[in-house]
C-alpha cells in the first residue's frame, strides 16, 4: 500500500469537512474520488498534501505516518499535488514554472531529462517555454500544472479537478494524458466531478458524500452501480 488514510477527519474552522475517511491507494493504481460539490474531495487532497492539518486520524505513506509532516517535506517524499484551479505561477515563464516543480531535487541531469520528457508529453508547452504562465490558455495552464507536479518525480500524483473549466475536446486530452502518465509508472489519485471519465480511467473509485465514503469499488463496478449512475452519471 503506497498511501493510506485511516479514519481521517478534517475541519475548516467550525465546519467539519471530513468524517472519518478511510481510503488507500496501491502502487501503480489510478484511484478516482467522485462526489458532488462540497463532498470533501478537495479536502482529502489538501489533507494528503499537507496543506490542511487533519483533526483526527492518520495519513500513512509508504508505511510511515506522515500526519504531522509539513507540506514541503511531503513533496520531497514523493507526494505531489496539482491543485484545483491549477495554481501556476503567472509571472514565471513556462520553463521557470517547470523548474519550480523540481525545487526539491538536486540531480541536474535527472531534472533535465524529466524536463525533456514533459515537453515530449506536452508538446504545447515546448512552444510556450519562454512565455509567462499567466498568458497561457486554460488548457495549457492545466497541462503546465500537471507537468510541473510531475517534475518533482512523485511516487503519487494528486490531480485535483484537472478537467475543470475545459472544453470537451481538451477534457478528453487530459484523460489521455492521465492514462499515459500511469503507463509510465506514476500512481495517481484523481479528484473529478466528471465522474464518468474519471471512473473510466480509474482502477478503483471512492464515492464521497458530505465528507464520508459512501461507496467504493472498481471503476467498472461503480460505473454500473445504479445509485452512482443516478447521482453522478446523469443516467436514471
Amino acid at each position: 500500500m503506497l498511501l493510506e488514510l485511516r479514519d481521517v477527519s478534517a475541519r475548516y474552522g467550525r465546519i467539519q469537512a471530513l468524517h472519518g475517511v478511510d481510503l488507500h491507494v496501491d502502487e501503480g493504481e489510478v484511484v478516482a474520488l467522485i462526489g458532488a460539490n462540497g463532498a470533501g474531495k478537495t479536502t482529502i487532497m489538501r489533507a494528503v498534501s499537507g496543506l490542511l492539518p487533519v483533526s483526527t486520524g492518520s495519513v500513512i505513506f509508504e508505511g510511515q505516518d506522515i500526519t504531522r509532516l509539513r507540506a514541503d517535506r511531503r513533496v520531497a517524499r514523493g507526494i505531489s499535488l496539482s491543485p484545483e484551479g491549477r495554481g501556476i505561477f503567472p509571472g514565471m515563464s513556462v520553463k521557470e514554472n517547470l523548474d519550480m516543480g523540481a525545487y526539491t531535487r538536486r540531480d541536474r541531469a535527472g531534472i533535465a531529462a524529466d524536463l525533456e520528457r514533459m515537453l515530449t508529453l506536452f508538446p504545447r508547452l515546448r512552444e510556450r517555454l519562454g512565455q509567462p504562465g499567466g498568458t497561457l490558455s486554460g488548457g495549457e495552464q492545466q497541462m503546465l500544472a500537471v507537468a510541473r507536479s510531475l517534475m518533482s518525480r512523485p511516487k503519487v500524483l494528486l490531480l485535483d479537478e484537472p478537467s475543470m473549466g475545459l472544453a470537451p475536446k481538451l477534457i478528453a486530452q487530459i484523460f489521455d494524458i492521465v492514462v499515459e502518465i500511469r503507463r509510465q509508472g506514476t500512481t495517481i489519485l484523481l479528484v473529478e466531478q466528471n465522474a464518468h471519465q474519471a471512473l473510466w480511467v480509474a482502477d478503483r473509485g471512492y464515492v464521497l458524500e458530505t465528507g464520508s465514503v459512501v461507496r467504493t469499488g472498481s471503476g467498472e463496478d461503480l460505473l454500473d452501480d445504479s445509485s452512482v449512475k443516478a447521482a453522478y452519471l446523469g443516467v436514471a
Partner: protein, 400 residues
Amino acid sequence: MTPTTPSGADPSTGERLSTQDPPLLVERSGEGETPRREPEGGSSPRGPRRRRELADLPPVVRYAICAGILGAAYLLPWVGRVPVIGPQIQTQGIDWPSALFNMSYFVLLALGLNVVVGFAGLLDLGYVGFFAVGAYTVAVLASPDSDLDQRWPWLACVPVAIGVCLFSGLLLGWPTLRLRGDYLAIVTLGFAEIIRVFADSSSLLRGDRGLGSIPHPPGNWSDGSPIFSVRDATPYYWLGLTLIVLMVLAVRNLKASRVGRSWLAIREDEEAAELMGVRTVRFKLWAFAIGAAIGGFGGVLFAGEQGFLNSATFQLMFSVLVLAGVVMGGSGSIPGAILGGALISYIPDRLRGVQIAGTDAFEYRFLIFGLMIIIIMIFRPQGLLPDRRRVATTQDQEER
C-alpha cells in the same frame, strides 16, 4: 531628474513605454483553449513581450553604463555647476548635500522594503520600525545622554545595530507568518506604533527629550578636520551611496538565487509554492530579517548624520512614504526602488523654499506628492521602472 538612477541615462526608457501597449489578447474563445496570438517579433527566446532592457546589451556596454551612472551619482554634490539645468536640479530651501543625504537613506529604506514587499509580497506598513530600531540602537550605545552611558564610537555600534534589526525582523516575522495580505499589514502597522510608543514613554529612549551628541563616523581629512561633521553632509551622502551600491549588489544576487526564486514563488502563489516544496515560513522570515537589516543601515546612517533622535523623529508617515516610493518605482524592481526612494525624498526637499502664492510649496508637499503618485499610477500602473514579471502578472490579472 535624479541621476542616481539609470532612468536618466537609459536610452530604452522611451521604448518601454511604447512596447507595453500592443494588445496581447487578440482572440479568446469561451474556454480559452485557443492560443493567444503573439504580437510581431515574438520570436525572442524569452517570450513575445520581452522589453528591451539593460540586460540585453553586451556586458562591456552594460558595465560602462553602470559605471557612468555611478560616477555621475558620486559627482552629484557639484551638479549646481552644470550650466542651465544644474541650478534647477538643486534644492533651494535645504542645502543640496543634505538633500542628497536624505535621498540616500530613503533609497536604502526603499531597497530594504522592496525585499519584503516587492520580492516576497509581504505588505509591511511598519517598516519605519526597523529604521527606528537601527537609529536608536546607535543612539543608546553612543549618546552621552543615554542611561547606559557607554559612549561607543559610531562604527562599533553599526554591527550591533544591524544585528538588533535582524533580530527584530525575526521577532516581528515570527508571529505574523500565518497572516496574509490585509491582516499582515495591520499587524506591521501595530509594530511601528509599538516602537513609537515605546520611544515616547521609555526612560531608556527618553521620549521627546531624545538622545543627542551621537558621534559621527570616524576619519579625518589630511588637514586634521573630521570627514563627517555637521558642516557638510557631502561625505555622508557618499557613505550612503556606497552603502546603496553594496546593498544593491547583495540584493541583486539574492534575487537571482534560490532564495529569490523562493520569494518569487511565495509572492505569486504562496500555496503553490508550498506544494513545490518551498519552506514558506523560513523564506518569509528571511525576507523580514533582510529587509529589516537594510532598513537598519539607513537608521545608523541617519543617527550619525543627525546627531540627535527623539520620539517625534519616526512618524508613521515614513513607512507610508517609503512604501509609496517602492510602488511608484515598480514593486519588485531594484532600479525602481532606487528611483522611487530617491523621488520621495527629492520631491518634498525640492519644494522647500519655492513660493506658491506666497506660501512655501513645502507646505503643499503631500498634495503635490499625492497628485504625482496618482498621475504615475494612471500612466504607469506597474511603476516607473517595473519588474519584468510584475508586468506579466498584472496584465494577466487585468485580462481575466
